[in-house]
């Protein structure tokens, strides 16, 4: 047995035989092999093992003529010009994927646009139908029979826009809308106020000079006869000041007031909303009129008829109930009219904050103290949360762990046996 140290490891000899060494290293190994008997024995041993493996032969692959024919036929299929063109343009799979994604996005946008158009048409149809109902309701409220008949005849000549939506003809829908507009215009001359719209505007502004903007806001309100229903100013230390207000401006002056408000700073967000309350108002007016008539009839019964005390009391109770309803409806009507007369502007005015060097910064010791206290609280809260979690869910987790561990172990064991057998 030799114990002579060798400069070359057996693994390296194997790598040399496999042709995996660099040229310089291979030359050195080769020269060592020429002179070392032990390493030559390693070479012989490795060669013998490799030679033994060569006796493991495999039978020739079976000839499956059907498959070969199928494969040859598939291979012979010349790629179409389109496929060749695609291959030339997009040689790699990544480019193909990118192009396909682009096409998909364009397709989705197109479909979304088409669906949006259809949605617009249906919305417009429903709005037209609602407008027609409103017109009929208001006509019913009014007692000007001559005008009402004229209006009804005009309305009857107008076909419902749902038909236009059903056949999908945008042109027809537009024609119907035009016809409806004509009816509405003629009706505008008949009723004195027109449709009742309650305007609501949300406005978010960033102002450079907060104080002057604040003063200008008051001036704008005074100029347009408006008022602030709610106003709050926040002035935190070391941060931007902000103002939040709910302004009420007379509806005819909304546009002008809005323009002036926008000049106070940079508009960050603007959202305008107009809620049509014509139908709601008309219903209220009709119900109010009926209730008043009922009250008058009850009053007449009370004054003209005589009867038992219980009947009189019952009539008085009924009068009180109707009176209550009337007052409630009158308040509601006033509220609606107020919403229509005065537009609401939800204004948020923020200051464009610039940090100042001379502003007193909190002391470092205070910051460290606060951070340490917060850190301690966080740790305590986390630990408490963990304890609470295990107290609440621990038993059920333990139960399921025990219940599932046995089948899981069985499956794992079978899986190991199966993989070992294959």
């Amino acid at each position: 047995m030799s114990t002579t140290p060798h400069p070359i490891a057996p693994e390296e000899i194997m790598a040399h035989l496999d042709g995996e060494l660099s040229l310089a290293r291979a030359q050195s190994v080769s020269s060592h092999l020429d002179s070392c008997v032990e390493c030559q024995a390693v070479v012989t041993s490795l060669r013998n093992t490799s030679h033994s493996l060569s006796s493991w032969s495999v039978a020739p692959a079976p000839v499956n003529t059907k498959f070969v024919e199928h494969l040859c036929a598939d291979a012979a299929k010349v790629p179409s010009n389109l496929r060749r063109l695609i291959f030339e343009i997009f040689p790699s799979q990544r480019w193909k994927l990118l192009a396909a994604s682009g096409v998909l996005v364009v397709l989705l946008i197109t479909i979304a646009g088409f669906m949006g158009g259809r949605y617009d048409m249906s919305v417009r149809s429903s709005k037209l139908a609602a407008a027609r109902r409103v017109a009929v309701d208001i006509a019913r409220v009014n007692n000007k029979d001559g005008s009402r008949e004229a209006l009804e005849s005009q309305l009857d000549s107008w076909s419902p826009p749902a038909a236009a939506s059903a056949n999908g003809s945008l042109g027809k829908l537009q024609a119907e809308e035009k016809a409806m507009k004509e009816v509405r215009d003629s009706y505008q001359t008949w009723i004195h106020n027109g449709p009742l719209i309650a305007h609501t505007v949300s406005l978010s502004l960033i102002a450079k000079d907060f104080d002057s903007s604040r003063a200008s806001l008051d001036a704008i309100l005074a100029r347009h006869n408006g008022y602030s229903a709610n106003l709050s100013v926040s002035t935190p230390q070391g941060a931007a000041r902000s103002l939040q207000a709910s302004l009420r401006i007379p509806a005819p002056q909304l546009s002008a007031a809005l323009t002036e408000l926008k000049s106070l700073g940079r508009v960050e967000l603007e959202n305008q909303n107009g809620e049509e309350v014509t139908q709601q108002h008309a219903d209220l007016v009709a119900r109010l009129k009926n209730s008043r008539e009922t009250e008058q009839r009850l009053q007449a019964i009370l004054t003209q008829r005589t009867g038992k005390i219980s009947d009189v009391l019952e009539v008085e109770q009924e009068i009180a109930r109707v009176r209550g309803e009337i007052e409630q409806m009158e308040a509601e009507q006033k509220n609606i009219e107020h919403r229509v007369d005065f537009a609401t502007i939800d204004l948020k005015l923020s200051e464009e904050y610039k940090a100042k060097l001379d502003s007193p910064a909190p002391a470092i010791s205070t910051l460290i103290h606060n951070a340490a206290v917060n850190g301690y609280r966080n740790v305590a809260d986390t630990l408490l949360s963990i304890v609470l979690f295990f107290a609440e869910y621990g038993p059920i987790l333990a139960f399921w762990l025990l219940a599932l561990s046995i089948p899981a172990w069985l499956v794992w064991r079978r899986w190991r046996h199966a993989t070992a057998a294959i």
Partner: protein, 235 residues
């Protein structure tokens, strides 16, 4: 007998490439009129003849690859067919970044792994794996059967590395890429597999090889190499 020796011997002696039962000629061999890579590129441009040539060259090696790794020859045949079908469909995406045979064996290896996964799943949930008598016995000679049994006793990753090196003649780097192992691990495991196989095939010389190995260097015995971490893909 030189022409029957596996790659290890042939590479060391700089002899012509292996002409084993199912080893394809390497691209450098002058007998091949066109390299595999050129043929594959030509096929990706529409040349059916190139594909036929590749099919003829690799039909037997791919069948041998699966036959040595599956018990059922029908499975081996099916998996070979699947490999060529995948190659056919993936032709337009082929980029000659590596040797064609590496690319082909990578496809075959993925198909083999998928087959093993399915078989393991079936065996786990629907019963034991098929106990069909191993038809490989009919393929191999008596000594071949002996070798096969010895190879089966090797560690799975060691066995795979040994087979890929000896029969598919992949380089260490190619094996490392295929099995997602470090190249040094491939070398260590290959040495361990060869040593273990020699001990299994020649029990009488089990004590001798370590004597023959240089004493000052760490000897890679099967037990010692157990410390190699189990990295790489699941086989």
């Amino acid at each position: 007998m030189q022409d029957a020796l596996p790659a290890l011997v042939l590479n060391s002696e700089a002899l012509p490439p292996a002409i084993m039962n199912d080893t394809p000629p390497t691209p450098a061999y002058p007998a091949s009129p066109a390299s595999d890579e050129h043929l594959m590129l030509a096929f990706s441009k529409g040349s059916a003849e190139s594909f036929n040539e590749l099919f003829l060259r690799y039909k037997q090696p791919i069948y041998g690859f699966f036959r040595r790794r599956t018990a059922d020859p029908h499975h081996a045949e099916e998996l070979s067919q699947e490999t060529f079908l995948v190659l056919l469909r993936a032709a337009s995406r082929y980029e000659p970044r590596a040797l064609f045979r590496t690319y082909l064996y990578a496809i075959a290896f993925k198909i083999l792994r998928a087959h093993r996964r399915k078989a393991a799943f079936r065996a786990t949930f629907f019963g034991h794996p098929s106990t069909i008598p191993d038809p490989a016995k009919q393929d191999a000679t008596e000594s071949g059967l002996w070798v096969r049994r010895a190879v089966e006793k090797l560690d799975r990753i060691d066995r795979e590395i040994l087979l890929l090196r000896e029969f598919e003649q992949l380089s260490y780097a190619e094996i490392a890429g295929l099995l997602q192992l470090p190249i040094n691990t491939v070398r260590s495991r290959l040495f361990r597999a060869r040593t273990a196989l020699r001990n299994l095939l020649e029990p009488s010389s089990a004590a001798a090889p370590n004597n023959a190995a240089p004493s000052a260097e760490p000897t890679a015995s099967p037990n010692a190499a157990q410390a190699i971490p189990q990295k790489g893909i699941r086989l």
